[in-house]
């Protein structure tokens, strides 16, 4: 009876030409991560993993776009080529410039319209038609390769429409992006990629900092904590909005799923702020 070591050596020598590591346990290396651009989020998540699909979810006015622009600002600051697939044509270049995004490195794709006669006019306006465009374009971008970050902005698409996207699409994106250094980031209202996502972060507002808190009772009723702000509301010339009610938002981020960390996530959270650019 040969010893286990001898047996192993025999098997490995027999299969050595065909298989690189026959009986060795292949440890999956920890994925490289890049900064989200927000220190609080980085501390919570460890950053956005490269070669993986990440999701940032939250309701309207929960700071998703601000976090997305911060991540894009970081990627363009590293001179990486980035792509933004804008499902509802909501991207504001002025906000992005104010957030520090180098627009020269950002490919902005505005979905929602098409000159193609094949696309029916009824389908053109609906969220479903836009989602089809998003999926097609994402396929093209990921297969073309070379982008440091690809962002899918589904923030204004109703969650019931996004849920109709088959899981195979998300799985395909994950498999395509896996051997690359691309960060695939989805911004949406509710998580949709399920197990295909390596990182899912949920954002929630906890407070707003408003100039004119006229009726705090109503604010408390809606779960808002109003912080007073009494500075003069004269916006500078580069302000993205003129009226300037909002001074900032306090947010809470919660990691729903993270495959980049060893231990399973148990709803850990962190607080951080978004500040208006005026």
């Amino acid at each position: 009876m040969p010893s286990p070591a001898a047996l192993r050596a025999h098997v490995e020598s027999a299969l050595g030409e065909r298989l690189a590591s026959t009986l060795l346990l292949r440890e999956k290396a920890a994925p490289l991560t890049v900064s989200t651009g927000v220190a609080g989020l980085d501390a919570l998540t460890g950053g956005l993993p490269r070669g993986a699909l990440s999701e940032i979810t939250g309701p309207a006015s929960s700071g998703r776009t601000g976090v997305m622009l911060a991540a894009l600002a970081g990627a363009t600051h590293r001179e990486e080529a980035c792509a933004l697939v804008d499902a509802s044509d909501n991207f504001d270049p002025a906000s992005a410039a104010a957030a520090g995004v180098d627009l020269d490195h950002l490919l902005w794709i505005r979905c929602g319209e098409s000159d193609r006669a094949s696309l029916r006019s009824t389908q053109r306006r609906t969220a479903l038609g836009r989602l089809e465009q998003v999926l097609k374009i994402t396929d093209l971008l990921l297969q073309g390769g070379g982008f440091g970050m690809v962002v899918l902005d589904l923030g204004d698409i109703p969650p019931e429409s996004v849920r109709r996207v088959p899981l195979t699409s998300w799985f395909r994106f994950r498999r395509t992006v896996e051997p690359t250094a691309t960060v695939l980031l989805i911004v949406e209202r509710e998580p949709c990629a399920k197990t295909c996502a390596s990182l899912v972060v949920r954002l929630q507002r906890t407070a707003v900092c408003a100039r004119d808190a006229a009726s705090p009772s109503e604010a408390e009723f809606h779960g808002w904590r109003v912080l007073s702000w009494t500075e003069p509301a004269i916006p500078p010339a580069n302000a993205v909005s003129h009226a300037a009610l909002l001074h900032g938002m306090q947010l809470r981020a919660e990691v729903v799923r993270s495959w980049t960390q060893r231990k399973p996530v148990q709803s850990v959270g962190a607080d951080f702020e978004l500040r208006a650019g005026w």
Binding site: G37, A70, D92, L107, W108, I109, I157, A219, L245, L246
Partner: protein, 597 residues
């Protein structure tokens, strides 16, 4: 040392260059309008069939062999029939069927392209090139031995480069240009004549080779049609005289007494004898390299769909890229012109001027031009083909195509020194195809770089082409913690177009709003306004003229608005969101144009 590149049967070669499948067939090129069209040029297989230059198409088609009958493999055949088929197959094995003759109309455009390609190859080899004739070039190779090796090695390289642009050539090399030219025109393949052996090696050539090049050597001095006719007449007279004397090759002519020949044929006779002996030196009339790269193809029958057109484009692109590669250049702009089948004019024209104008308009209407501006110079025929396919799919010609031109604006190829630590960037070639495909999905000008305009007008930007800036990049590490921000800015999400709303005011301030858009996605824009701040009044571009409805968003158009920032508690639930709404002072309507996120 001089070399001559000669393309035998040049009009045929120019057509075969565009249709490589014709190499296996006998090809006859016709010139003139039917029914007076006559055979202008033939290839070797055509001559073997018995066709001759000057025949009418009807005469030449008699020599064209009929197609052999094909028997379907699945068909059940009787024993007798199968024996017949076997016999026929055996007969065809012993006597291969002659190739069918294919007739093509002469194409000056394709001949020009082939000649330009030949010049490109020659200029890439040496700058000292004489453009002797459309089918032959003379090259001065003096001093190039250290670069290319011995004379046979140079000849082989030259032949290889000429074949790379789709032409089969004969190469002649000798110590003087005339001997090199006679060797190229008289012998097939590569012929290298050492110095001093010209008379012996050229001696076996027929006298017609000498007379052809003799006439052509004086071609530059002949300008008028009458002079050409006179020259041809003189050539025929000399040929008749030499035939009567029994002079049929170079050697016999070289042995004739010099003075007696001069007395009978004059100066021309003396020059002919010197050429037949392979002596004499002349200076080459050098030509400048052209920077115009254009390939053309005329079609026998018009192409209606894009798929067969793609094959033709592929052929043209390969030819174009081979020419550019020979000159170490790349493409910056690619222009495709398609001539569409003539349409019948709607109205009858009466005067000559009207007829001329109508012809010009028809020509312009029947040309479909597409131009591709490439962000970086590249030389990849497959990429160009894909880009042209996508462009033509988006902008179809609209009528059958009967002729196509493809022109390239050359540029220096980009030189990029890649590094291990450079940031990620898409390859320029792949990116162009990806962008073209994306444009096909979302439409023109909806993918690119956003440039914020220097104006107070809200949502003022324009789109520019996205370019991968690989060359400008510098090595940089990942973002460090010091680059992260503890408080990133609040962003706006713009609604395009702005959503029409109905606003209820209390004491001049908005207190409730409802959307007027029945779209299912916009239902959240309805509810009670918890807070509001405003109004912020602004206006602009009132100094510009009132633009019409066709003006684009980038053009100045007077605007005025009173903006409010609001916090809205939606009727759908307990959700609260921040929006920017405005009152358009021009129309008096309310709109919601952005949300804070």
């Amino acid at each position: 040392m001089f070399a001559c590149i000669h393309i035998p049967d040049f009009p045929v070669a120019a057509i075969v260059r565009a249709e490589s499948l014709l190499r296996e067939h006998a090809v006859a090129v016709l010139d003139g309008k039917p029914p007076q069209a006559r055979v202008f040029a033939l290839n070797d297989k055509g001559r073997q069939l018995g066709m001759e230059i000057g025949m009418t198409k009807l005469q030449a088609s008699i020599f064209a062999a009929a197609k052999p009958e094909r028997v379907p493999a699945t068909k059940m055949v009787t024993k007798k029939k199968s024996a017949q088929i076997e016999f026929a197959a055996r007969r065809t094995k012993t006597q291969p069927p002659p190739a069918n003759a294919i007739f093509r109309q002469r194409s000056p455009a394709q001949e020009d392209s082939a000649h330009a390609a030949l010049l490109d190859v020659a200029h890439a080899f040496t700058p000292r090139v004489e453009d002797t004739h459309p089918d032959r070039l003379l090259l001065d190779l003096g001093g190039l031995e250290r670069l290319y090796g011995s004379a046979p090695a140079m000849a082989r390289q030259l032949a290889s480069r000429v074949s790379s642009v789709g032409l089969d050539c004969n190469i002649g090399m000798a110590a003087n240009p005339e001997a090199a030219m006679h060797a190229a025109c008289g012998f097939s393949g590569i012929t290298v004549i050492p110095a001093g052996e010209e008379a012996r090696r050229l001696g076996i050539l027929p006298i017609t080779v000498l007379l052809d090049s003799f006439d052509l050597a004086h071609g530059s001095e002949v300008e008028t049609t009458a002079s050409v006719r006179e020259c041809n007449k003189l050539r025929e007279q000399i040929l008749d005289t030499l035939e009567r004397w029994g002079v049929r090759d170079f050697r016999t002519l070289a042995l004739l007494p010099e003075h007696a020949l001069a007395a009978r044929l004059g100066e021309a006779g003396t020059r002919l004898q010197r050429l037949s002996r392979g002596v004499g030196m002349r200076t080459l009339a050098l030509c400048e390299p052209q920077m115009h790269f254009e390939e053309a193809m005329e079609l026998e029958s018009a192409v209606e769909t894009l798929e067969p057109l793609s094959f033709l484009l592929n052929r043209l692109l390969e030819q174009l890229c081979a020419r550019l590669e020979a000159r170490a250049l790349a493409v910056q702009t690619l222009t495709l012109r398609l001539q569409l089948e003539l349409r019948v004019a709607d109205e009858q024209t009466t005067t000559l001027e009207e007829l001329h104008e109508s012809a010009n308009e028809t020509t312009a209407r029947n040309l479909h031009t597409r131009t591709l501006h490439l962000p970086v110079a590249m030389r990849a025929p497959k990429v160009f083909l894909k880009l042209l396919q996508l462009d033509l799919a988006a902008h179809p010609p609209g009528a059958p195509v009967c002729k196509l031109w493809l022109a390239a604006e050359p540029a220096r190829p980009r030189s990029a020194q890649r590094g291990l630590f450079l940031p990620i960037a898409p390859e320029a070639e792949k990116l162009e195809i990806t962008l073209a495909r994306i444009n096909g999905v979302v439409g023109e000008r909806r993918a690119g770089i956003a440039k914020v305009l220097d104006t107070y007008r809200p949502d003022a930007f324009h789109m520019e082409r996205f370019v991968s800036r690989q060359e400008d990049r510098t090595p940089g590490g990942d973002l460090t913690l010091s680059d992260t921000s503890s408080a990133p800015p609040v962003a706006l999400r713009i609604f395009r177009p702005a959503r029409r709303i109905r606003v209820q005011l209390t004491e001049g301030r908005p207190c409730r709003l409802a959307t007027l858009d029945r779209h299912a996605d916009h239902n959240e824009l309805q509810g009670k306004i918890l807070w509001s701040a405003g109004p912020w009044r602004s206006s602009g571009d009132w100094w510009a003229e009132q633009s019409d409805a066709e003006s684009t968003a980038e053009q100045a158009q007077a605007w005025g608005r009173e903006e409010w920032d609001i916090v809205l508690a939606t009727d759908n639930g307990n959700d609260v969101a921040l929006y920017r709404i405005y009152h358009d002072t021009g129309t008096g309507h309310w709109f919601a144009d952005a949300s804070y996120d």
